[in-house]
Amino acid sequence: MSDLLETESERLLAAVRSLLAQKGIASPSEISERIAITDRASPGQGARMVAKAWTDPAYRALMLEDGAKAAEAIGIPMRGMPPLGVLENTAELHNLVVCTLCSCYPRAVLGYPPFWYKSAAYRARAVRDPRKMLEEEWQTVIPPQVKLRVVDSTADYRWMVLPRRPAGTEGWDEDRLAAIVREGDMIGVTLPQA
């Protein structure tokens, strides 16, 4: 069996795809449809949740209590998705998410995980020397008096960070706030900038 598994990946995919179609398990149109659905999830969705939490205390409370309910409340489909936990950054605490065992990522609200999140370097360094990694790779400096909490996403939950609202955004509406929230801000490698 092992020689077959070592077949070049594109040929393996083509063969598996044709067998799954023959057996009625996955047709080409089902695959295309699934790709289209998956492409609709993007960091813009998580950013909308963050912006709403910054402007609506009741929504913020819901989001911290149950991330999946908060996502559904603004129309993000969560059916069949793992539970979503939300980690709030404060003046005293900064959260950073990693999956050292594979690549668990809050895909429902952020889309496909970025390349760096899946890399061996990120998975190794984030749990062990996170401050140095954040400074070297993202120029993100967590002040020494702020506690850094690394969340290793090992099991059934998925985790996203609710970043702090940056100064200089007073009076901004939700759309304008959502536009400054990036993928990395919701994993904890970067901080939103006004």
């Binding site: 069996m1 594109e10 996955a26 496909y112 061996a120 998975r123 190794a124 070297e136």
Partner: protein, 103 residues
Amino acid sequence: MDNDELPRAHHDLGGVPKFLCEPVDVEPHALTDFDKEVDAIRQILGAKRVMSVDELRRGIESIPEADYHRLSYYRRWIRSITDNLLRKGVITEAELRAALGGA
């Protein structure tokens, strides 16, 4: 306790010394059509209870260490998916050989 002496599995990467000095490639890498198709097939197999995400992971973890680090993310996935489909008898080795011959 010397960390290098512990019998860690090779996918269990938290804090592993040999990666601590490796830079993180923070540049965006767009997914290819290959990547998206593999991802979609995994989702369909999960939704239809043909293969769970835990089985996918087990298959990825059983890839030998050198291949694990050499193969891209979704190349590991298609290898694990194929491994699982064969193990579970969803497809047979003969069928796969035939499909590869014609691919």
